[in-house]
Amino acid sequence: MILIGKYLSLDESLNLREAAEICLKCGVCCVIKGHSCHVQYDERFNATRTYVYNCLAAEDPVENPNIWLCVSCHKCEEICAYDVSPIRFIEAMKAQAFQRGLMHTVMLGEIENVLSTGYAFPLTSSAARQREKLGLEPLPTASAEELMRIAEETGLARGLRRIKEAED
């Protein structure tokens, strides 16, 4: 389990490649209809080339854009008889991708939204109008300054600047 009672730092999570070696490639995490990974509905995957193999067996899993399709639902982890925990592997690859500046653009935008407004989604004028019409208070954005301060402390802000500089 990823977080329960135990917190994995980035350094520890870098050693998760062994998951790819333990995996028996039985496919249970992906092919049991309705009970396994939803990404299997992507037409590129099938019973012999499953989404989880695609993530575990990629030459450089960090550069595999499919890692972003994982929703962290834990089903692969709960169903695996060999304690491979593909979710733990995929989340570690996402973390390393961030370190390398390979983040999905939608997620980058989402993080920037959170740090600048406190909300993951853009605060549109249409939403403001709907709220007013329903008699709901306007949404406060006072948290943004504190969130940016936290991001400076944890190194997230530095990482985002690095990605931006590389883009420029």
């Binding site: 977080l3 939803h38 509905y41 972003w68 929703v71």
Partner: protein
């Protein structure tokens, strides 16, 4: 009246303010008092934000929890994602002293501290545990008899099982009990535990998301469903807007309206379809509307 720090999250107040409106009205009628905490931010969202080294994710979640601690009230959320983030942070930070100290160091410059004095609950926990399903049943004025409802519980309120302890991720039944309490019939359908496909829509291909939704909606329809109910705004989006896209992509011949559970509860409490702002939904269906009106007549 039981008071909670109201963690409305991002998705509902920004994309579905009508659901926030219904939640405020219905929960107040059930003696659940929602305290607005202006400083709350995004939980932060577990899939998009929670990927760095998890430290920022944990620290921002701890900041939100600390605001509820200052008010002295447990948190109530309307979203599975917010629950997943805040509950994990709350449990882990209570248990792991070393991490708690590290996170509190991150919070010190903004004069905040995680103490571990409150609990984090989804509104479903509150209805089941604090209000009680018997009490919910007593407030039903117009039982939704004749209405068959497909329940989609969602992923992040059930998994990881050891932590969430809400329902069996592979055979979820709790939401079905909540639907039965309203006089409606839960649909028995295949693919019940399957995810709504949120990440496929956002970070993958919409065609794949449509395939998934098409399969799930067809199973619901086969199970006799007149509508779908959810307890997570991302799932709501998928079954509403995502269904519009799936209908176009797959040329589906049917439509299943989706209602957030609190909207369904409101109907059972005698609210009209207009009062739950059903007209804001992208997927509407006259057969469903007639059944609701028939139950309320």
């Amino acid at each position: 009246m039981k008071r909670f720090a109201f963690f409305r999250g991002c998705f509902i107040p920004v994309r579905f303010p009508h659901i926030e409106y219904v939640a405020r009205r219905v929960l107040r009628e059930l003696d659940v008092d929602l305290l607005d905490v202006d400083g709350f931010s995004c939980c932060p969202e577990p899939v998009g934000f929670g990927l760095n080294d998890k430290l920022t994710w944990m620290a921002v979640a701890a900041r939100n929890i600390s605001l509820a601690e200052e008010e002295g009230h447990d948190i109530i959320t309307l979203c599975n994602g917010c629950l997943y983030t805040l509950k994990q942070a709350n449990v882990v930070l209570k248990e792991n002293e070393e991490l708690r100290e590290k996170v509190n160091e991150m919070l010190a410059p903004i004069d905040r501290q995680f103490k571990g004095t409150v609990e984090v609950k989804h509104f479903a926990h509150v209805l089941l545990g604090d209000v009680g399903l018997d009490e919910v049943e007593k407030r039903v004025e117009t039982p939704l008899k004749g209405l068959t409802v497909a329940c989609h519980t969602g992923c992040h309120i059930t998994s990881p099982l050891e932590l969430m302890q809400f329902d069996d991720p592979y055979d979820p039944v709790v939401l079905e009990g909540m639907v039965s309490a309203l006089g409606a019939t839960p649909a028995d359908y295949d693919l019940k535990p399957l995810c709504c496909g949120w990440t496929l829509t956002n970070y993958g291909s919409r065609q794949s998301a449509s395939r998934l939704l098409g399969a799930k909606l067809a199973a619901m329809r086969e199970g006799g469903a007149d509508c779908v109910t959810v307890i997570c705004p991302q799932c709501h989006y998928q079954f509403d807007m995502g269904q519009v896209i799936a209908v176009r992509n797959l040329k589906l011949a049917f439509r299943l309206p989706v209602l957030f559970y609190l909207q369904l509860l409101a109907l059972a409490m005698g609210y009209s379809l207009d009062e739950i702002h059903y007209r804001n939904h992208r997927v509407r269906n006259s057969r469903f509307e007639e059944k609701v009106k028939g139950a309320q007549a």
